[in-house]
């Protein structure tokens, strides 16, 4: 196995173009597990750690641009207040050691349906910035990024450069069910982001379908029920959160597997959706959570 070590982004793109068999590696918290478990033996590893600009973030055009190599720990500390949903998800990733090394870019590249960052990226309407030497930069909306289990819209010669998302315009929450209280892969997860200016609520479901996905019908239901200015200043109507939860549960396409049953996943999603909507709404009425 070759170990490729570009020192700049341009060099990384050039190496990528010439080595479609190379697997990009950042923190290695996913790639190295697969190699150690002999799940795969890639022809080469493309080590992006020396490309230091990947580990930075910036505000640009009113949006937050988070480099693909920014470790979770720094994401939580440095931009967590602006992307609370993503930061909550990042806090649930692995152990402190894993969070010191793991990155959003790695989560996207692996595209596991159970990846913790996907639901908040979907709920927030994030975009993934990818680039290749030949094709230049593409911006892919998160919901178009995930194509199947561990399959993405990324082309063979492209690398993930960053994710873009607007600082939270309203309350955001992330919730994940696992069978222990820390360091656990999601049985299923749910993210919610209130977008008050657009009078809409964004959602993201994790680990309950071949890809992370939005609960479109649930989003439309809320947009309809909460149409108009007054609704956004009042308490949630009775039964609304429950109905929202049911629709989120219905949006999933879960399976029975070693981590849980399909029926439990639907049930848990409904509970998490109801609770997170309730929390987000309480935050909004209380004026907390950046509403």
């Amino acid at each position: 196995m070759e170990f490729l070590r570009p020192l700049s982004w341009e060099e990384a793109l050039a190496l990528r173009a010439g080595r479609p068999d190379a697997v990009p590696i950042q923190g290695g918290t996913d790639v190295m597990v697969e190699i150690n478990f002999e799940v795969r033996r890639p022809g080469a590893l493309l080590d992006l750690n020396p490309v230091r600009e990947l580990a930075e973030w910036e505000m640009a055009e009113g949006r937050l641009r988070i480099g693909a190599g920014l470790p979770y720990t720094r994401l939580i500390e440095e931009v967590g207040d602006r992307v609370p949903g993503l930061a909550q998800a990042a806090r649930t990733v692995g152990s402190p050691q894993i969070r010191n090394r793991g990155t959003v870019g790695g989560n996207l590249g692996a595209a596991s349906p159970a990846g913790d960052c996907h639901p908040p990226l979907l709920a927030a309407g994030a975009q993934v910035e990818v680039e290749s030497a030949a094709g230049g930069v593409r911006m892919i909306p998160a919901e178009e990024f995930y194509l199947g289990v561990k399959r993405t819209a990324l082309r063979d010669d492209e690398l993930i450069r960053a994710v873009w998302l607007r600082p939270a315009e309203g309350p955001q929450h992330f919730s994940k069910v696992g069978t222990r209280n820390a360091m656990v892969i999601a049985v299923c997860s749910f993210a919610i982001a209130l977008h008050p200016a657009e009078r809409r609520v964004g959602t993201g479901i994790g680990s309950a379908a071949p890809t992370p996905l939005r609960a479109a019908e649930a989003e439309e239901f809320l947009a309809g029920e909460l149409a108009g200015e007054p609704a956004w200043g009042r308490s949630l109507p009775d039964g609304l959160a429950e109905r929202f939860g049911e629709l989120v549960g219905r949006a999933a396409a879960p399976i029975d597997d070693v981590r849980g049953t399909a029926a439990y996943r639907r049930h848990a999603l409904a509970v998490m959706a109801r609770r997170t909507l309730t929390w987000a709404w309480q935050d909004r009425l209380a004026g907390t959570g950046r509403s």
Partner: protein, 764 residues
């Protein structure tokens, strides 16, 4: 006394002497068996069966042998001696012969100059399999004679042990309250640190020196040598750095394989399993199905127990027979039951082999009988603690085997103590880490209900059923640099329990010296027996004490010769010989005068007897140990997530030898029981393991294991060295049913299967 009150910092018996490997392990500097290295070594890997049951139609190793860097590829045909080994029955092939009986069974070995080369060569071995339907129904294997056999014509029943006491027909007429339950225990893994590994070095005498992480050097040696076709003395073992064991290192894993490759290649051979391979490389806790019926009077006194326990031993016997013996003899728990009909079975299937794990047959039964005791309490309208107190054994009680408990057994008082612990305060909702779901942010208090549960367990200490167990210790006292120093040499495996520390504490106390060295454990000294059955403090502790006493007697004789007078009642203190009146009469340096005094002693516990094969009667156990747990949990009843808020334990250890190490044993045992209650299970479907990794085999983290309260009692056992009682296993028994009882209390769910999964609570 409480542990907090114990002296800390000292190094004599009763002090919290610190273990020598503690800092090294925490800082990552400890040399595990996987760190062994020889300059000219080659690496061994194992080809394993992907199928739980198949006929082997052919093995072609030619492509593997052709890989550059490969030194040897071996199959069963290359095993020079006995082809089978095993702890109780020699039923397990060194390498599969003509068929495989479980997923992961070793089929062939490769040695190469690099581990990746060895793995690639392994992938080029072509094995023809005719795949067969796996036999995975343990209950049918136990009870249905028409069920196909796993081992040719041999019965699928490895052992059936009945217990028959009293008159069941009469008992059924007398019982006013009857409760029934069916329970299931999933397959737990020991999940020790430091996967199986070792280094085999060929020796000039044609033998082999094996450095390995194991639990019992001599039983390894006895199994390895015949398979290599060597006399026992030419297979020498030295204990390498062990991470943990919990029973999983009782059976052989890579030992014979590494030796075979070393003898074939003439090079040192290192084999290191990865974590995934480790899940296939050792036995697990027997999964169990248990049917219980309890009859009681209306005031909650047990009249009878009628029970059937089926333990799935998987493809090979391992220690299944002894596990069945424990499940049967301890199957009604620490209660006086006048009438018992109990049948315990251990069977062969094509599931992963199961054998020893902390608690050893007593764990499975404890979950069932304690669940039943709560049902009896409910049926009688009694408090769960009260019903246990009314039936609790005490010194003088007769167990279901007819054995009379001839040592303190203050169980009723221990239960009272557990009930008297103050209740933990209600959980706040400010920090999600205190709530079910923890950092996953699933509740801010919604759906959370508190529950409390109690359980007790009874565990045998030391080997049982007539086994003539012993441990050997050699102790040498001499002066080094003018100071008296003791050297303690045993073959006892330090597997993390703290035995090295304890041996030194005993020598310090018995010989009155400060400087004690514990030599590496190896087969150069007699057997110490296994680091199992909570027996090493008792057995090797007893042996070290006996050897120290023998050394002390000789030293006092030397002092008497030197002083020309007898010294009745003399002892050794602070490097001096001290007469009965308390006055020092000579220094050890003077008495030894450059000589060394060395004594070797074998220690044996009192004899036990076998269980009658038809009635299960017999004085089968050496010692009994008891632990009581109270568990307090918060459960998110909507999502089925559990936060154990507090575990409190009351345990009688006879005598506290090292408070800190003892606390660790109680905490660790309780945590392992928590794991079985809530998350730890090797999931097997059709004989195939679905989660062989720590990604999906979950063990408790620091956010799952709560703070513990402990109350430790010291009611000395008059038969045991220092009055001690083995302490490592009892907490593992009772913490599981206590936690499940607490979850039932919070949710009202029946919860008859462990580990309890979220969907059992929320979708019930």
């Amino acid at each position: 006394m409480t542990v907090e009150a114990a002296r800390r910092g000292g190094e004599a018996l009763g002090d919290s002497a610190l273990r020598p490997d503690g800092v090294l392990k925490v800082t990552g500097e400890f040399a595990y068996s996987s760190d062994l290295w020889a300059d000219d070594m080659v690496w061994g890997v194992t080809l394993r069966s992907p199928h739980p049951r198949a006929r082997i139609t052919g093995i072609d190793v030619s492509e593997a042998l052709a890989v550059p860097g490969v030194h040897a590829v071996l199959t069963h045909e290359d095993v020079p001696g006995e082809k089978f080994y095993g702890l109780e029955h020699h039923d397990q092939p060194v390498l599969a012969i003509d068929q495989v009986r479980y997923q992961g069974e070793p089929v062939a070995l490769v040695a190469a100059d690099h581990p990746e080369t060895a793995r690639r060569a392994r992938d080029r071995i072509r094995v023809g399999y005719e795949v067969l339907e796996p036999l995975t129904d343990a209950r049918r294997a136990a009870l249905d004679p028409s069920y196909p056999k796993v081992h040719g014509d041999r019965s699928n029943v490895v052992r059936h042990q009945p217990i028959r006491v009293g008159d069941m027909a009469h008992a059924r007429r007398v019982a006013e309250v009857v409760v029934r339950g069916e329970y299931e225990v999933g397959m737990q893994d020991q999940a020790f640190l430091g996967p199986e590994s070792g280094l085999a070095v060929p020796a000039e005498d044609g033998g082999v020196d094996l450095f390995v992480a194991t639990q019992w050097l001599h039983v390894d040696q006895e199994q390895i040598a015949p398979c290599l076709g060597l006399p026992t003395g030419r297979v020498r073992l030295t204990l390498a750095g062990v991470g943990g064991a919990f029973g999983a290192r009782e059976d052989l894993s890579m030992q014979i394989h590494a030796c075979l490759l070393a003898l074939r290649t003439g090079r040192p051979v290192k084999i290191v399993y990865g974590r995934e391979e480790s899940f296939f490389g050792h036995v697990h806790r027997h999964p169990a199905r248990l049917r219980y019926e309890h009859g009681a009077t209306r005031d909650g006194r047990l009249v009878y127990v009628d029970a059937e326990i089926v333990l799935d031993g998987g493809a090979y016997a391992s220690s299944t027979s002894a596990v069945v013996g424990n499940a049967a003899s301890l199957g009604v728990g620490p209660y006086e039951v006048p009438n018992v009909r109990l049948d315990a079975y251990g069977v062969y299937t094509n599931n992963p082999p199961c054998g020893a794990m902390r608690g050893f047959g007593a764990v499975q039964a404890c979950f069932a009988y304690e669940s039943q005791m709560d049902k009896v309490a409910e049926a009688c309208g009694l408090d769960p603690v009260e019903v246990r107190i009314r039936n609790a054994v005490a010194e003088g009680s007769r167990l279901a085997t007819g054995q009379v408990i001839d040592m303190p057994a203050p169980l009723a008082a221990m239960l009272e103590d557990a009930r008297a612990f103050p209740a933990p305060p209600p959980t706040g909702t400010a920090d999600v880490r205190d709530l079910p779901g923890g950092v996953s942010n699933t509740t801010h208090g919604e759906g959370v209900r508190r529950g409390v549960g109690y359980a007790v367990g009874i565990k045998n200490i030391c080997y049982s059923e007539g086994f003539d167990d012993h441990s050997t210790a050699r102790v040498r006292l001499e002066t080094v640099g003018g100071e008296p120093a003791a050297l303690v040499h045993t073959a006892a495996a330090e597997v993390g329990q703290g035995l090295v520390t304890l041996q030194a504490q005993i020598a310090r106390t018995e010989l009155g010296v400060r400087q004690v060295t514990v030599a590496p454990a190896d087969t150069g000294v007699g057997s110490a027996g296994s680091s199992s059955a909570s027996r090493q403090s008792y057995m090797t502790g007893g042996a070290v004490r006996a050897a120290c006493e023998a050394v002390r007697e000789r030293v006092i004789e030397l002092a008497e010769e030197r002083l020309g007078r007898s010294l009745p009642g003399a002892s050794l203190h602070d490097g001096r010989v001290v007469a009965a009146d308390g006055l020092a009469v000579a220094s050890l340096a003077e008495v030894l005068a450059g000589r060394a005094v060395e004594e070797t002693r074998e220690f044996r516990h009192r004899r036990t007897t076998a269980l009658d094969p038809l009635t299960g009667q017999g004085d089968s156990h050496v010692q009994f140990a008891f632990c009581v747990h109270r568990a307090v949990v918060d459960v998110d009843v909507e999502l089925g997530l559990v936060k154990v808020v507090e575990l409190a334990a009351v345990q009688d250890v006879g005598r506290i030898l090292n408070p800190l190490a003892l606390e660790g044993q109680i905490h660790g045992g309780s945590a392992q029981g928590l794991g079985l209650a809530l998350m730890e299970e090797i999931q097997v479907r059709d004989g195939v393991v679905r989660n062989p990794s720590f990604t999906d085999y979950l063990i408790p983290t620091i956010l799952d294991m709560p703070p513990m309260r402990t109350r430790i009692l010291e009611n000395a056992d008059p038969h045991a060295p220092y009055g001690l009682r083995g302490a490592g296993e009892p907490p593992t028994l009772s913490s599981t049913p206590a936690i499940v009882a607490a979850v039932r209390d919070a949710t009202g769910r029946p919860l008859t299967r462990i580990p309890v999964r979220p969907e059992h609570i929320s979708c019930g």
